[in-house]
Symmetry: C2
């Protein structure tokens, strides 16, 4: 594993740890100021720190107590200046809004080198949609 | 624009042209054999050429006649060996399965250098989901 891949994997672990701790400052420290974020929930995209931060705070607020993010099927590809990763997350906890307490989501993270470290410039989180019913599709297992 | 960015932008244009022409061979020529694809429709992911090709053929078959993909808000980031791009697509045509004839989707494309050219190793296409109804969310405009 080269040093870029080591750095990106450490950042991804910190991203999950900060999410589980609902530590929005630590989480936001991994995002560039020009972040373009496609989330599970509307609208089509969130752009910039303020919108993305507000959306993380909303997400954290949906749980009574802790949330858990388990990472599966992680692939990391790093180059000299650009990197990306994709994974499935099992997102669980006691939610307030009626969404299931455990659900699988698809997660893509794209990063740019920033000096000696890396920043996330794009993230894409989603669920599949059943084309017949237009309802979110939840697998029983990934 | 450096030569990598020029190559990646040309590949993205060919990807759209091949989709619009329903030319599955040309389209598949842009994907690596270890492609991991997260699509709007289930399951969670498609892996490898055979699954991804079959899913493209299904997609093409949903339209009576031509389909159109308009690209908006494209961002491309290229490094020496890894690159990524994100964009919104307005996907339109006369569909057979009840989905709207024009819809906006979010599209993320991740690429790896392969010799003197590039291949897509990961792609992620989705719509947001309304958290109250768990229904797909369609914006009137992006």
């Amino acid at each position: 594993m080269n040093s870029s891949e080591f750095q990106v994997r450490a950042l991804l672990e910190s991203r999950v740890d900060a999410s589980q701790a609902k530590d929005v400052d630590r989480l936001m420290s991994h995002y560039s100021s020009d972040i373009v974020y496609y989330d599970v929930v509307p609208p089509m995209r969130y752009t910039g720190h303020e919108q993305v931060r507000r959306n993380f705070v909303r997400w954290f607020g949906e749980y009574n107590g802790p949330l858990s993010l388990e990472t599966h099927d992680l692939t990391v590809m790093t180059g000299s200046d650009a990197a990306f990763a994709h994974m499935l997350h099992l997102d669980s906890g006691t939610r307030k809004n009626g969404l299931r307490s455990a659900m699988w989501v698809r997660s893509t993270v794209c990063l740019r080198r920033s000096g000696s470290s890396w920043l996330i410039t794009h993230e894409h989180i989603s669920l599949p949609i059943n084309p017949e019913t237009l309802q979110a599709w939840f697998p029983t297992d990934r």
